[in-house]
Symmetry: C2
Subunit: 215 residues, 2 copies
């Protein structure tokens, strides 16, 4: 969680300051209502620097989206790579993958909330991300679930509905962070919330794959 | 599902035509990018009629949001009212409530997708709906789950995480309809999808409340 590989270092470069200012403004005001000038002003950099590094507002949006999905899908991919030489149950790998994906989103909280909301819109960028990153996510989840079925940990064969629901559960605390705050008076990005929320994800895994003690 | 009590009658009034045009344009182009003039043109009514009936664009948005939540929360409320004089298990009432809420959203597909997306934004209207409708939804789910616990159908006491997750599952097919289409090549609002999706909701209920055969 504190690997510091993202753009939120303690000592920030201008590029990092721009990305941080962009995501905060995009999330609070919406992408359409935010100008490059405002981003530059908040990041205390020159407007020209944003053109130079990101080729304007659309480039900034693309960088934010791909940065998020590189990390988010990367967490799942990393866990999938461990499966081949592992003596652990597939269930335990799935659980680790879910935990990593929640922790990654917790680390980049505002970015996660912004990206998930943006993904509910219809645009060329959103479609591109769906046909690349989210299609990859689907394959990786399918791989893990099919392994669980092949190794007898899961009784029912994999179906798409399981994958749709699992990814829905993993993004829910961030996509619905405002609902969680306003209606349930809890902060979705805080560890006390995510720890207990993760228990309900584990219950979901129990229902579909079987409890860890059985396997 | 075909009670025809909404604003999608076969024979539409001008008011209904305006609401239908508004939700389609708001969903496709976004609320900010849609003008009253476009809505009037699509609905083949006079602009003045929109001012008269809805007091402009913001009024239209409010009418759409409250129309949706009246029906959506209404479906849950109707089921809760049956509990007192019922000999059926709470589990069966919960299942009926979930089914009704999915069917209501299916019936008003575009409206549902638009409303759920709108609810991820931060505005005064969204906050008002959260503190009224969604707070009521939370209480009604809590009531059903607490009854299930009181009557011994559910072993673990109710927690907020269960409610957050359950409502997430019920809105997911509509909020993520584009993801479901682009990545899984399925149409979330079609019955073949919802029927099978509902099975995964039942599995969730199995995991939390216990299977219907046990109770």
């Amino acid at each position: 969680m504190t690997e510091g590989k993202g753009f939120w270092h303690v000592r920030k470069t201008s590029k990092e300051k721009v990305l941080e200012a962009a995501v905060e403004l995009f999330y609070a005001k919406g992408y359409a209502n935010t100008s490059v000038r405002e981003i530059a002003s908040r990041a205390t950099v020159n407007v020209a620097l944003i053109s130079y590094h990101f080729n304007g507002k659309q480039g900034l949006l693309e960088t934010l989206m791909t940065t998020f999905f590189d990390g988010y899908i990367g967490a799942l991919e990393k866990e999938c790579e461990k499966v081949t030489n592992s003596t652990n149950s597939i269930r335990s790998h799935l659980e680790s993958a879910c935990r990593s994906m929640l922790l990654f989103q917790q680390q980049f909280d505002v970015l996660s909330r912004f990206v998930h909301r943006e993904m509910t819109l219809d645009s060329i960028l959103v479609r591109e991300i769906m046909s690349s990153y989210l299609t990859k996510e689907r394959h990786l989840f399918r791989y893990l679930l099919e392994e669980a079925f092949a190794q007898g940990e899961m009784i029912t064969p994999v179906n798409e509905y399981m994958i749709i629901q699992l990814r829905g559960l993993l993004t829910l605390p961030f996509l619905h962070s405002q609902y969680i705050r306003e209606v349930h008076y809890m902060v979705a990005s805080e560890s006390y919330f995510l720890d207990r929320y993760f228990e309900t994800v584990r219950k979901w895994l129990d229902a579909h794959i079987g409890e860890p003690s059985i396997v």
